[in-house]
Structure formats: structure tokens, C-alpha cells
């Protein structure tokens, strides 16, 4: 069976114990930093920070390989595009293509930025329970005047939670619909165009029915889309403030490299 990408790995490491809001803010800051820095020293420092945090999290490296692997084709494509289509000092000549020194530098920088983004996101999701992440997002969004848009932070958090919880049911429904259509003679390989509506229409009908039943069950359990509390009590501890201070210090140092 395929191991899910960006999945939570339960643990008791210092990174697991941090408040989800701390981790969300840190990942956002490091993401911005990765796209701000231009030099290799800064990028190197970010990789060193990532390895230090990985050691601290006691997470297996496979978690991070799994996060990067699905994007490898895209990463290789942007590297090659930068390498061959950037103006600059030519390194060599292959037929009509001329890789340049500047292209190599740009490609490496861009690819490193993407990989860093994926790695820090994987570090966040592997060390934080998904419901704690949504709870953290909800608490961070709560002060915003979202009611002007006709939604509340509680609704957004519930939507995120349900989307995560309902994905396996959706995949199962796809498989069931495919099996039911195949049993009635549908060949998904021979007739890919003809099979799309045969799969999509019953799937959509089923998903809408599931959504209606879920909405009834939620309403029956008192859900009104308004204020609700959470089992996950979030409170910023000393370790969270220390972590934030260290990261801000790191960012200042890297920006001055």
C-alpha cells in the first residue's frame, strides 16, 4: 500500500510538543525567507536548519523523501528550463542548446527553494496532528473580520477537517463506482473519453448524497457553523516563544549573510 504524502507521524519529540501556531508561523516565515534569499550561503543555512530540526523531531528521513518524490519531475523540468533558457556565460554547447553559468545558478536556487518549501511543509505535517493544524489555523484566523465575507473561522476549520476526513471515503467511492461500471462492461482503458461521464455522473450523485447525509448528521449533533470550542486546548508555552525567538534570530542572520 502507498504511504500517504504529508501524513502525520505520532511522536513525543520537542517539535511534536510545540504549539501548532508556532510551527505554522515558522513554516510561513521560512517559506518567505527561502524565496527572499539570493545567495547559496543562505540556502545552505536553511538546509542546515532543516537537518537540525529533523534531528530534533526524530522523524525518519523517508517522510521527507516521500514529500519530494512526487514533485521530482516538475523540479527537474524547472531546473532544465533555467539551465538552458537563461542568458549568460555559456558552459557548453549541445546542438542548439547552450547551458549557461547563470542558468545553472538560477536553476539550483529555484530548485533549492521548492525543495526547501516541500521539506518544511513535510516537517510541519509530520510533527503535527492534522486536527491540531486546523485548530491552529482557526485560532490564527479568529481575529480577522471574516464575517464580512459571510464565513467564520470555525466554518473554515470544520471544512478543512471534513475535507481531510472525507478523502478516503471519496477514493473508496471512486473505486466502487469504477468496479460497478466495469462489471457492466465499461472498459476504462479502451474508451477513456466515453468512460469519463460514466464514472463522473454516478460519482457526483453519490458524493452529493453523502454530503447531504453528512450535513444532517452534523446538524443533528448541534453544528451551526457558529462559535464552537475544541478538545485541543492551545496555549503558547515558554518553548514556543523560545522557538520563535531562535527562528527570528536565524532569519536576521541569514538575511545579513
Amino acid at each position: 500500500m502507498h504511504e500517504p504524502v504529508f501524513s502525520y507521524v505520532p511522536g513525543v519529540s520537542p517539535l511534536h510538543k510545540l504549539d501548532p501556531r508556532t510551527k505554522l508561523v515558522v513554516v510561513m516565515l521560512l517559506g518567505i525567507l527561502a524565496f527572499r534569499i539570493e545567495n547559496f550561503a543562505g540556502i545552505g543555512a536553511l538546509f542546515i536548519l532543516f537537518f537540525a530540526l529533523t534531528l530534533l523531531s526524530r522523524l525518519p528521513m523517508t517522510v521527507f523523501f516521500r514529500a519530494v518524490r512526487p514533485m521530482m519531475l516538475f523540479i527537474i523540468f524547472i531546473f532544465l528550463a533555467q539551465l538552458f533558457f537563461s542568458d549568460g556565460r555559456p558552459l557548453a554547447t549541445f546542438w542548439v542548446l547552450q547551458p549557461s553559468m547563470e542558468g545553472l545558478e538560477n536553476g539550483l536556487t529555484l530548485v533549492s527553494r521548492f525543495i526547501l518549501l516541500l521539506l518544511f511543509a513535510a516537517l510541519l505535517t509530520a510533527s503535527t496532528d492534522p486536527s491540531a493544524i486546523t485548530c491552529g489555523i482557526e485560532r490564527m484566523l479568529r481575529p480577522l473580520p471574516l464575517q464580512w465575507l459571510g464565513i467564520s473561522s470555525f466554518e473554515l476549520a470544520t471544512m478543512m477537517n471534513i475535507s481531510i476526513a472525507f478523502l478516503p471515503l471519496l477514493f473508496e467511492r471512486v473505486e466502487r463506482t469504477k468496479a460497478a461500471q466495469a462489471a457492466r462492461g465499461m472498459d476504462f482503458v479502451k474508451n477513456p473519453f466515453h468512460s469519463v461521464p460514466a464514472l463522473a455522473i454516478p460519482l457526483l450523485r453519490g458524493v452529493i448524497r453523502d454530503a447531504e447525509e453528512l450535513a444532517l448528521a452534523m446538524e443533528s449533533r448541534g453544528y451551526q457553523g457558529k462559535r464552537r470550542t475544541s478538545m485541543h486546548e492551545l496555549s503558547m508555552q515558554n518553548r514556543d516563544w523560545i522557538a520563535l525567538f531562535v527562528i527570528v534570530l536565524f532569519i536576521i542572520i541569514v538575511l545579513n549573510l
Binding site: P130, N161, A217, S230, M231
Partner: protein
């Protein structure tokens, strides 16, 4: 505890689903609502905690009218509904999270929410599944989790809408046994089904047809009513057997028709006497 007064409801296309329903449910009662598909039993269930509002008449739960939106959180805390399909009732990624959903909606503090979750897990004997994904559980286990999700809100009345229809017979029996235990502990139970085999223990049976209550009484009198079969409902096999034996002059007492075991015992006793 629950009172329905002259309740009528039609679907948006104009099809009448409930017509002039009058019903009173007492605290601690086990009421079964039966009827063939389309008779209006599920629509009635949705009226019991304000998921549907009557177009005519009113539904009063402990003095609270379901048409009053401000009373809905209180009504839903008092009356919980367990639906047919466990899969579409799960909101959480783990059993624990799913059970916390109701208490979170009641805006309880985190400590209280944990207490409610622990209590519901203990009540259903599902402590070991706390961190499991509800999607990985079997149908019967899933229905127990759905029940625990409602119990976590500490309701006084539980409505079960055809909860055993998607389960295998053994799981169905387990779920039904748990429901009976809850009723013995003082919960009011409204049990909706079209499987009459499950209703021997009910205090009262309501038979519905075309949105109306057509028959009402204790199981013995309802099952003895000749109009039941004309409503498209099949008698439980043991009760039908007892009725046929009666026509041959062999009387089986009502309480002996509750299980094959007690029925066989009674037959053996009759043989020994003769």
C-alpha cells in the same frame, strides 16, 4: 418528554410525508416506529430534534418548540439521532475526534469535552479504538462509534433510524442489545425499523402508512392485528409460527416468542405434557 401535535409535512414537490401526526413519548420509554419504505418514519425521526420543522402543528421537546431556532442547541442536546449509514456520520479523523464533535458544538470547555469522550467510549466499550480512524472499522463497529458520538452529548432521548439495516445479523444483534441496555439505564429510545423481528422488547409500537399513524399499541396487540400484513409488513417468524399453532389449538404464551430458545423450550414442555 416529546409531544407531536397535529404535525403535517410535505416535501418540496408537494408529496405529503406526514399527515396530522399526534404522538406523545414518555421518558424512559422504548418506542418502535415501523412501516414500509416511504411511510414517513424517517421524516418523523427528523422532526424529533428539529432537523425538519413541521409545516402544520408543532413538536415540543421538554417544553421547547422545534420551530424556535434559539431552542435548537438545547433540543439537540436532549435528542440525538443515529442514522442508517455510519460512514456518512463521521466527522473526525480519529474516533476520539469524532466523538468530540458534538460536545465541541455545545461549546463545552476542553476538560469537559474529554470527559464526555471518555464517558461515551466507556459506555460503548470502545476505549481501545480511541485513536483509530473510524473509516477502518467494520460496519457494526462504525455504528457503535456513531452511537458513541451521540452519547458524548449526553442526550436523554436516542432516535435510531434503521441503524441495523446495513449491518450483518450478528452486528445488528450487538447494536440492538446495546440500545436495550441504554434504555434500561433510563434513556428514552425511539427505534425506527422495517424489520419486525427486532421489536419484541419495545414498550409500544407505532405503525405508519402513507404519512399517518395507522396502528398503535404494545407489541402483542400490534402483532395480533390482522391489518398488519395488509400494510406490507411481515410478522416475525416466531410470532407467525405461534399464530399458526394457535389455529391448530396449540397456544404459545407471548413471552415465549421472544427467542428461538424460549420458543423451543415451550414446545418441548408441551410435548412432555402430552
Amino acid at each position: 418528554m416529546i409531544r407531536l401535535e397535529k404535525v403535517s409535512y410535505s416535501y418540496p414537490d408537494g408529496t405529503p410525508a406526514l399527515e396530522n401526526i399526534n404522538l406523545a413519548i414518555k421518558k424512559g420509554e422504548f418506542i418502535a416506529i415501523i412501516g414500509k419504505n416511504g411511510s414517513g418514519k424517517s421524516t418523523l425521526a427528523l422532526h424529533l430534534n428539529g432537523l425538519l420543522k413541521p409545516q402544520k402543528g408543532k413538536v415540543i421537546i421538554r417544553g421547547m418548540d422545534t420551530r424556535d431556532i434559539s431552542k435548537l442547541p438545547g433540543i439537540r442536546k436532549l435528542v440525538g439521532i443515529v442514522f442508517q449509514n455510519p460512514e456518512t456520520q463521521f466527522v473526525g479523523r480519529t474516533v476520539e475526534e469524532d466523538l468530540a464533535f458534538g460536545p465541541e458544538n455545545l461549546c463545552l470547555p476542553p476538560v469537559e469535552i474529554r470527559k464526555c469522550v471518555d464517558m461515551a467510549l466507556a459506555e460503548t466499550g470502545f476505549e481501545k479504538y480511541r485513536y483509530r480512524s473510524p473509516k477502518t472499522l467494520s460496519g457494526g463497529q462504525g455504528q457503535f462509534v456513531a452511537l458513541a458520538g451521540i452519547l458524548a452529548m449526553r442526550p436523554e432521548c436516542l432516535v435510531f433510524d434503521e441503524v441495523t439495516s446495513m449491518l450483518d445479523p450478528d452486528s445488528g444483534t450487538d447494536v440492538l442489545e446495546r440500545i436495550r441496555k441504554l434504555q434500561r439505564k433510563g434513556k428514552t429510545v425511539v427505534y425506527i425499523t422495517h424489520n419486525l423481528e427486532e421489536l419484541h422488547a419495545a414498550d409500544r409500537i407505532i405503525v405508519m402508512d402513507k404519512g399517518r399513524i395507522v396502528l398503535e399499541g404494545d407489541p402483542e396487540s400490534v402483532f395480533a392485528d390482522p391489518s398488519l400484513q395488509s400494510l406490507g409488513l411481515t410478522l416475525p417468524s416466531l410470532i407467525e409460527l405461534a399464530a399458526r399453532l394457535k389455529t391448530c389449538g396449540v397456544a404459545i404464551p407471548w413471552e415465549k416468542t421472544s427467542s428461538p430458545h424460549s420458543f423451543a423450550e415451550e414446545i418441548c414442555q408441551l410435548f412432555l405434557k402430552t
